[in-house]
């Protein structure tokens, strides 16, 4: 059986049900890397250029983990996943960076996904990957449809304000009377337990109900994002701002927490816009958290606890 490795990092958090089902339906065995741990981080830091942000470094660690365990590693080059919107430039270069930095890699499956072009283009890409496993276009198409349906189930769970069980995050507050706080940040940071220093679990322990961008339908996000005077062409920034605009109008939202990685280009803009916007909104405080390679949790704990005290004193 052909083994396909999928790094449990970056776009994994958004698309893994699609990828996993697709490859499995084509008869491949999917191997995920372990959830991020200190060894993976260390491996990543060793193998990548030092200017990369922490999540990219960690991605390299996940690839290192998979390297000798599989026949292929799936590392899609995500250029654009929605029309006229783009992902971060570092995403674009990942397959090339991997090839240049890690010797003896197994074959990479690295289709370029650029949906700025027409819809038909996507099928071409699906076929490009699928034919490595089957010469039957119908079988590939069926696998793709099955994957899409898994993805939509996954997304549906989010819309019900739940964090899918596959992510293995304890997020339910102890008591029903809880504060509702919006957690903003890249999926690959806030749902990566190790990178986020268990932020969601810490919030749950403080009896905070976490809501996130993923829990809003694209329809709401796109509608809200349009109220921004300029078209936002970074896909992540658009989603984040759309959800900030939406949640800031909801009375039950007690505040916002934004977690980003040190040195993140798109976030430097997004964070400023959010800060500026929320300053004008009454009673919606914002907490900014930055992560980097350090593992001391004291800083995050202090800020989170102080933010909680602030919210509690407001609620009274």
């Amino acid at each position: 059986m052909i083994r396909v490795g999928i790094p449990r990092s970056l776009a994994y958090f958004k698309y893994f049900p699609l990828w996993q089902t697709f490859f499995e339906s084509l008869g491949a065995k999917v191997v995920f890397s372990l959830p991020t741990n200190p060894l993976i981080v260390e491996q990543g830091i060793k193998s990548v250029v030092d200017e990369a942000c922490l999540p990219v470094k960690v991605y390299f660690g996940h690839v290192q983990y998979l390297k000798d365990k599989v026949d292929y590693i799936f590392v899609p080059r995500l250029v654009s996943v929605e029309r006229k919107e783009f992902t971060c430039p570092k995403f674009l270069g990942i397959p090339d960076m991997l090839k240049a930095s890690i010797p003896d890699l197994p074959n990479l499956i690295a289709p370029t996904i650029d949906l700025t072009k027409q819809d038909k283009y996507l099928w071409k890409k699906v076929w490009e990957v699928g034919r490595l496993f089957s010469s039957n276009p119908l079988k590939v198409s069926l696998a793709w449809q099955k994957g899409l349906s898994e993805l939509s189930t996954y997304k549906q769970t989010w819309l019900e304000e739940e964090i899918p069980a596959q992510l293995n995050i304890y997020y339910k507050p102890t008591y029903s009377q809880s504060l509702k706080v919006v957690l903003l940040g890249h999926e690959y940071i806030i749902y990566d337990q190790y990178l986020s220093m268990y932020l969601i679990e810490k919030m749950a322990k403080l009896n905070i109900k976490v809501v996130t961008t993923e829990m809003l339908s694209p329809w709401i996000i796109n509608k809200e994002a349009k109220s921004y005077p300029k078209r936002i062409f970074w896909e992540f920034s658009k989603n984040t701002l759309g959800s900030v605009f939406y949640y800031s109008k909801q009375e039950e939202i007690a505040g916002f927490i934004l977690m980003s990685s040190f040195g993140c280009g798109p976030d430097s803009m997004t964070a400023s816009i959010i800060q500026h916007y929320l300053k004008g909104v009454k009673d919606k405080p914002l907490l900014n958290l930055t992560i980097d390679e350090h593992t001391g949790e004291a800083g995050i704990n202090t800020r989170l606890e102080a933010f909680y005290d602030l919210l509690m004193r407001r609620v009274g």
Partner: protein, 324 residues
């Protein structure tokens, strides 16, 4: 009369402060942590004990600062509070109508905005510790000055030079460059103070509504050069409260008093602690790929507390052992 003890274990200093029922400060101690928090807590208790009125008892203990958990395990605390809340509580007690608190400590800098004594907004420096007390310490040491001399020199400046304050590594190279060009020491030091303030306001203070009365506290508030630079930049009077360098401990003591109202008796282990030997050791748990660093606290050779494991495996094991 009952007394309340606040302990603030920071990166640079360990502070102990005792208040009475009316929030009067009975005694306060400011010590350098010097990388040895356990020893400095013990030393603080040793210094504090003879200075306290003999008849009075400690009725409650609060800990704060980055070493608050460690301190809490050690002395038996009734309340463990983050330093932002502790600082805000202390500031509001000292200057009841305070609206902005600028706090610069050893490795942290923060800003707290209050309305009617309640925190409405705050920010802390991010991962970078540029422009905090540790950096001033280092620079003073590099010039062979005590931090007190360093602070006084800043006030003698006639024409402060411009120093890059964004990063302490850059600031240091900038200062060396200016010094080799022949600028006077006071001008360079005053320039550094301004750079630090500029960096603080652009970074921590970004987007915050800084309104008077403004309080400036934390260890760096001992430095009049920084106070003057703040006043110039904010164009308003900046108050350095009397207990500026032990405000966290004051806040912890006040919070301890509040906590003790709700609970019957204190968890404080008593001053006998100073005769005990504290040691810590740590090990990496290889039970899962997280490889947590587990820390163990021994009092007189007995394992008393454990922490650092994410799954609580080691913490719980010890608690069960103690319970049996």
């Amino acid at each position: 009369m009952s007394l309340y003890l606040g302990i603030d274990v920071g990166s640079v200093s360990t502070n102990l402060l005792v208040i009475d029922e009316e929030h009067n400060v009975i005694e306060s101690i400011y010590l350098r942590t010097q990388g040895r928090p356990l020893e400095s807590i013990k030393k603080g208790l040793m210094m504090l004990y003879p200075r306290l009125p003999k008849k009075e008892k400690i009725a409650g203990v609060g800990t704060t600062g980055s070493g608050r958990q460690l301190a809490a395990f050690l002395v038996g605390a009734d309340v463990v509070k983050n330093e932002i809340t502790a600082h805000a509580v202390a500031a509001a007690q000292q200057v009841p109508d305070v609206r902005s608190v600028l706090e610069i400590g050893g490795q942290d800098s923060k800003i707290i905005i209050l309305e009617n004594g309640v925190v409405t907004d705050f920010a802390m420096n991010t991962v970078c510790a540029a422009g905090t007390g540790s950096f001033l310490d280092q620079q003073a040491a590099r010039m062979g000055l005590s931090i007190q001399e360093f602070a006084q020199l800043a006030l003698q400046a006639k024409n402060p030079v411009r120093i890059a304050g964004r990063c302490s590594v850059f600031a240091e190279s900038d200062m060396i460059h200016k010094q080799q060009l022949g600028h006077s020491l006071p001008d360079i030091i005053a320039g550094l103070c301004q750079a630090l303030v500029r960096n603080y306001l652009n970074n921590v203070g970004k987007g915050k509504n800084i309104k008077p009365p403004v309080l400036f506290q934390g260890g760096v508030a001992a430095n009049p050069g920084i106070k003057v630079a703040f006043e110039k930049a904010l164009n308003t009077e900046v108050i350095v409260p009397r207990y500026f360098n032990v405000m966290g401990a004051l806040g912890a003591a006040i919070l301890a008093k509040e906590a003790i109202v709700k609970q019957e008796r204190t968890n404080f282990k008593g001053f006998n602690l100073i005769e005990s030997q504290f040691t810590t050791s740590s090990f990496d748990c290889h039970g899962c790929p997280n490889i947590c660093e587990v820390i163990e606290l021994y009092i007189d050779g007995n394992l008393t507390a454990r922490w650092g494991d994410k799954c609580n495996k080691w913490t719980d094991a010890l608690q069960t052992k103690v319970a049996n």
